[in-house]
């Protein structure tokens, strides 16, 4: 493996490193023998959040946008659960305790409510316009 101090000395001093080298030991370790930490859950949450944002912006089907919202909420939930788990934190490190799980439970309930209302609006839009393409929802354009 390349010596990191050499890589850092190439760059002029004062310039922040373009890549965070702190993440290299995580990928260098054997993932099958190392215990899982909070950072692993944060990576999964970031991937789900990013996929949800991309889904919300990219899809033209109204139901696809709803699915993107569900993915975003799940990415947030993964972070809440990771920070509330004493299994994933180092010995004695502060956790959110049960509060993180309660917040995640509320997020699940509110996501169910949001999906019901958004689906009703989508069906209403489909009845009125005979399409679910959100680009056609331009009735309010002047």
């Amino acid at each position: 493996m390349m010596n990191l101090s050499v890589a850092a000395s190439i760059l002029p001093p004062g310039l922040p490193l373009p890549v965070n080298f702190g993440m290299i030991p995580l990928f260098a370790a054997n993932p099958f023998t190392e215990p899982v930490g909070v950072i692993h859950y944060l990576i999964v949450g970031a991937v789900l959040f990013t996929a949800g944002i991309a889904c919300m912006t990219l899809k033209r089907n109204a139901l696809g946008i709803l699915m993107g919202i569900e993915l975003v909420l799940n990415g947030a939930n993964i972070n809440f659960v990771a920070f509330s788990s004493s299994y994933l934190r180092a010995e004695g490190a502060p956790t959110l305790g049960l509060d993180g799980q309660v917040v995640a439970l509320f997020v699940i309930l509110l996501a169910a409510a949001e999906a019901a209302v958004a689906l009703a609006i989508t069906l209403n839009f489909y009845n009125n316009h005979a399409t679910v393409d959100v680009d056609r929802a331009d009735d309010l354009k002047g």
Partner: protein, 259 residues
Amino acid sequence: MTGMLDMDISSMTHVIVPALATTALPALPMAGINWHSVLFLLFAGLACGFAVGVVAADNVVRMALYLVFSLGATAGLFFLAGAEFLGAMQLMIYVGGTLVLLVFGVMLTAQAPFVSIKPSSSDRTLAAVAGASLLALLLTAAFSVDAWMAPGAGVVPAPTATPLGMALVGVRVDTPPSGSPSGGHVGYMLPFEIVSVHLLVVLVGAAYLARAKRRRTPRAIDAVASAMPVEPTVVATAAVTAPGRTTGGAKSALVGGGR
């Protein structure tokens, strides 16, 4: 060449077999494997892979299927983090309720031209660039805190179902986490009540929004009666022919839309 190989193998067998017979089995390489990490990698790969699949798929039915798998794998991640009640709720409410609702929505609107609405390739490229930069930003933020990089100590948490239920009715029975900055123990009675009333209002509102609207057309018998005073026999024949016309009008209102 093959003869040499055969000789090598046979000589190796002669060496190995007595060794196996005399000594105990060597430590298997599987002994050092942390099965919690292996299961985490499995569920994390499933969750991330199917989440990317939701973005990449164009068919809305496949998107719904991938979303089911992704959220199910997320429930597995919850179980692995020690939040077993939350994992069960994720499976029952999300996968069993919300996604079934979404699948119903897909089925109700799955006319042939809307099953796959493809975004343009320039939009795709733009979304890929924006998504990659957002992911880089989030990962840089996640890796910037040293305390989050530490591997877990593996302190098995207590079962959470009873403390969660008691916290929702306002009584905390769990021990506060050590070193908690707030140190406080608050119940969740008021948020629980607000959320329950909110859920009721939302379901009533959704049922009101999604009901099948009928166009408010005057009944044929009223139109005939208001147009001219007629004999009772003519009104009776109009009433006989009325039902077919009204159902036809309602169907056209449902299919054709209000425009």
